[in-house]
Symmetry: C2
Subunit: 336 residues, 2 copies
């Protein structure tokens, strides 16, 4: 495709959903020319004044993530918010996308004019998924979406990744016996700001309350209280089916987000996140550079072969490989 | 310390345990001059003909890792093997080292002339732990140890890391009820070549047998059978206390290792591992390069600040940062 970046940027900034979808397709592409265009687009749209409330939501399959996002999303769009939903599914390259793969799972929300739903791209590496998701998030913000929900399935690394690109992190659980508390990895409990026990309706209502109580205690123990306002992290019961507890849960999210904004936590956190993304991009850029320079690439192949055969140690070989780069830099520094 | 690399290499190659310990201290150091010396040492000692049987062993705390390694190690040294034991404990920076922190936990083995035991270094990053462990392993091999056991505690990422630097991976379990099978992460079951159910003695003997049966079935389902000889992966009961099953378990390890060696699996796997280590070292070297070049470092700081403030997109800023490197390389290519 031939891309008029200026035009695309203007249409995204005007909030056009089709332009936004096209922009996301661009950042998802691995073609070199697309990547350059994507970077130009993102740089043009960089605007610190347009930042959404970024909410991460994690939960194992079957816990009702789609139903909760749909119920919550409809309330938010009904109240005038513009809501974007993105997904991080590191398993999608194998499973073909188990979350958000079918938009009809959020049929009503996807028909809303103020909502935008984008499934997870199939990507081989978690690093690739991270880049695409944060870039898609930036595009959604540039398009004027003021709430971005990033959904992920519970497999450990992806939660950390999502919590590192969002402001508030929610863990969704199903009602369960107390002995199953251990099934949630400690690391995930540590990053959760709010635990929501879904399906608190009908026969499961009482069990949901007990689960909530089990987690409320565990959460408090795991978090340093002084970084958050009174009562956070918290555990709540909700029902995507009846809508019970959703407004209260969202009020809690907003209260926490407001406290973090006012106390400077959000600004510090976003600066640190952006700095980290820069480092990630730098690393990716260097790797691309190493493989694109022909003489360097040939030298690398030769050294790699020696290391693979056990005739050279990896560290010394790497040092030797980087020698021309070092000398090139020295030369560049000495020239006027 | 002033280091005579040639002398140190010679003494390590002669199998001197004190020289080996000193070499490992050198590869664990983060000082730049020590790093250069460590790389020179490793490169000098690189010798594909001196390769040990590398065995990874993982298990949660309390499962009896130290007792099993001691009992197994004493049998192996008694049979003439030279056995080195290393530990990977990613949590040691926080906990102060929960595994192998106290050599007296393997008191008898540590007194053996043909054994060498080295606790996990306190390190902040898993990447750092990986590098030091594989370098320590190379030094042990250069020193003539023909069996290297790398112990790790069960926390997910460290098992993957250890399985990537060893030839055979053992998972150690305690006797447990069948409903606890789910507690072992699927990913760890997938990399285990052999599951050893310890404490198959006294009152727990019957339960150990049931646990073995539970895992035997699960293991077979999870592994592609065609890459291994008949009957592997397998589950066995052992007792570090009585010694029951240890000889049979080790025979299984050797049978698998021999099959992998003869079928070319080991050679392919080690070449791939070495290639990956080279890539890791390359990446670390580039990062060191970027921070050591002053003009480049200043430019990086400036661009990072713009990204952190939200005024530039991470990808475009990284591209800009790498521009001088790219031009330097082009210049170097053009000069005679």
């Amino acid at each position: 495709m031939s891309i008029d970046i200026e035009d695309l940027a203007a249409r995204i900034a005007a909030g056009e959903r089709r332009a936004l979808a096209r922009g996301i397709t661009l950042v998802e592409s691995t073609r070199a020319d697309h990547r350059a265009a994507a970077e130009a687009l993102l740089d043009r749209l960089a605007d610190p004044s347009r930042m959404a409330l970024r909410v991460g939501l994690s939960g194992t399959p079957g816990v009702g993530k789609s139903s909760v996002i749909e119920a919550l999303g409809l309330r938010l769009t009904g109240a005038g918010h513009r809501v974007a939903v993105l997904a991080v599914d590191p398993s999608s390259s194998r499973s073909g996308g188990s979350i958000l793969g079918d938009k009809t799972r959020m049929e009503r929300l996807s028909r809303e004019a103020r909502a935008f739903i984008r499934p997870s791209p199939a990507a081989a590496q978690l690093g690739g998924v991270a880049r695409r998701t944060r870039e898609a998030m930036m595009l959604c913000e540039a398009a004027g979406f003021d709430v971005v929900i990033v959904e992920t399935v519970g497999v450990g690394q992806s939660e950390t990744l999502v919590s590192r690109m969002t402001d508030v992190f929610l863990l969704l659980l199903a009602p369960a016996g107390g002995d199953e508390l251990q099934g949630v990895k400690r690391g995930i409990m540590e990053i959760a700001d709010l635990v929501l026990v879904n399906k608190a309706d009908g026969d499961l209502a009482a069990q949901a309350l007990r689960t909530r109580a089990d987690y409320a205690g565990a959460l408090r123990l795991m978090r340093a209280r002084d970084t958050d306002p009174e009562g956070i992290p918290a555990a709540r019961t909700i029902s995507a089916l009846t809508g019970d507890g959703l407004s209260e849960a969202w009020a809690e999210v907003e209260r926490l987000a407001a406290w973090r904004r006012e106390s400077g936590v959000t600004a510090r956190r976003r600066a640190a996140q952006a700095g980290q993304w820069f480092e990630d991009e730098l690393r990716a850029g260097i790797e691309a550079l190493l493989s694109s320079d022909r003489a360097l690439a040939a030298r690398l192949d030769e050294l790699r072969a020696r290391v693979e055969a056990g005739h050279a140690a990896p560290g010394a070989a790497a040092r030797e490989a980087l020698d021309p780069l070092m000398r090139a830099l020295d030369g560049a520094a000495e020239s006027p």
